[in-house]
Amino acid sequence: MDLIAGWFSHLNDTTGINFTVFYDAFDRARFLNGFLVTLELCGVTITGSVLMGILGAWGQGARSWLIRVLVQFYIQMFRNTPPLVQVYFFYFGLSALLPKVTDNLGMQHPLIGGFIWASISLICFAGAFNVEIFRSGIEAIPNSTREAAEALGYTRLQTYIHIVLPLALRICMPALTNNLVNLIKTTPLAYAIAVPELLYVSNQIWSDDENVPEMMLLLFIIYIGLVGILVFAMHRWERALRVPGLGR
């Protein structure tokens, strides 16, 4: 560790290429923290948006017209507005309506913090696309398969969970991967509402040290890495789930 720090410090002294995050303890701590927040944000929103997609796709085929209309309304709302506007809407618009807690110094604390609002809005944004992605998979399942399940005595929910969804998931995997990649690349929007993720801390660091190109390079490499890992994992999963003959 000292060796790396020493080398980057030397690099700065001799060439002016200033990677403070590798040798300055304060910058390293906040950069690492930013990286962890980004990981957490990615994890929460990927899980949340996939669940949202599964739930929404089920709702689209529900018998109740009310649920169908609600799901359609949700999709149109979040697919047709820019994600940055959604983040601002949740953080500054909706949260103003919520009650606040006041402590003994007279300080107010919001019930829901920036991280949770960012997660909620990103889940809603990516979830809207996931619903449509899952629908494409569900509609690709032949009606005869559904009828066969019905003939075996499956209820509608059981058919969805045990037959339709597992098959649909395999069909919509490539589109899902695309959307999740996009989701990872949308997480830096959280910096607009002061969630201390990677872009936010990088901005703080380059304002203090004036090393914009170096930090940009680092951000670039980290996001390539993050997306690369996701794509790799999704491809492995896709191959592991492959059913011979399906979709060919």
Partner: protein, 269 residues
């Protein structure tokens, strides 16, 4: 013959204009007195330091200082509105004689213009708090979420020195909205800009109770190579400090006495 006359005329004209420049260089103060008007660059968008009244008049602490300079010279005053990006260029080009426009005195700027000593004012950073919060020292800022502007140099300082938690937004409007919504309990910003905000009745429930931190001096500038003018301005500044004129202007425009102005008053009293 005609050509000769023309050449002579041209040479004479050049000689005359050089002599004008020479006299200008010799004594800028005399030049202003001959002109009968002192042209001063001030801000028009930075209340209470320099702004425009509804009738279009330049008002604020800095226009008042400029009027005082003109009065001492016994000439009329003329204002030219400047912004940070053009103020030193206006001075270099001779569009203005003196620059009083919330400018920090830095070594880089001293290479371009002549920043008169002593500095006349100083601004630091401070926090804007709701009046419901009773805080008396910076040490109580430990762990307090503090709205800030992304990229401000003091964000790191309030975190390292006082343990506050900066919540930095891209713009002032977002940070102020977040402060109003209670997403943070304080807003860290330039003290002079906070003073300006607090004069607005919409921020009547907010206050700036703590002392400003890390003051950076502001300087009045003149063009380089005008020692008489610089000397005149310098003497005027010392006289303002001596008589407490800057302190009285702070009172006039409804802002607190800055510790810099108080120190300077004590020094030259």
């Amino acid at each position: 013959m005609k050509i000769n006359q023309f050449a002579f005329g041209a040479i004479a004209a050049v000689a005359a204009s050089t002599s004008v420049i020479a006299t200008a260089k010799a004594d800028a103060v005399q030049d202003i007195k001959t002109k009968g008007v002192l042209v001063v660059g001030v801000k028009a968008d930075y209340p209470p330091f320099g702004s425009l009244s509804p009738s279009g008049e330049n008002i604020g602490i800095e226009p008042d200082l400029a009027r005082n300079l003109a009065m001492r010279l016994g000439v009329k005053i003329q204002f030219v509105p400047v912004v940070a990006a053009n103020r030193m260029q206006f001075l270099e080009q001779g569009k203005i004689d003196v620059l009083i426009a919330t400018m920090n005195d830095t070594p880089e700027r001293e290479k371009i213009v002549d920043i008169v000593q002593p500095d006349y004012y100083a601004s630091g950073y401070n926090v804007m708090l709701p009046k419901t919060i009773h805080i008396t020292s910076w040490s109580q800022m430990q762990g307090v979420p503090m709205c800030a502007i992304q990229g401000a140099f003091y964000n790191k300082e309030v975190a390292e020195k006082y343990g506050a938690e900066p919540v930095a937004f891209t713009g002032v409007a977002e940070a102020l909205t977040a402060l109003r919504q209670g997403r943070c309990n304080a807003f860290v910003y330039d003290d002079t800009a906070i003073e300006g905000k607090l004069q607005n009745p919409t921020w009547a429930d907010y206050d700036m109770p703590l002392p400003s931190q890390d003051p950076k001096p502001w300087g009045i500038a003149v063009k380089q190579g005008e020692p008489e003018l610089a000397d005149f301005v310098s003497k005027s500044i010392i006289d303002w400090d001596k008589t407490g004129y800057i302190l009285s202007l702070e009172t006039k425009y409804g802002i607190k006495h800055s510790s810099f102005a108080e120190q300077m008053h004590a020094k030259y009293k």
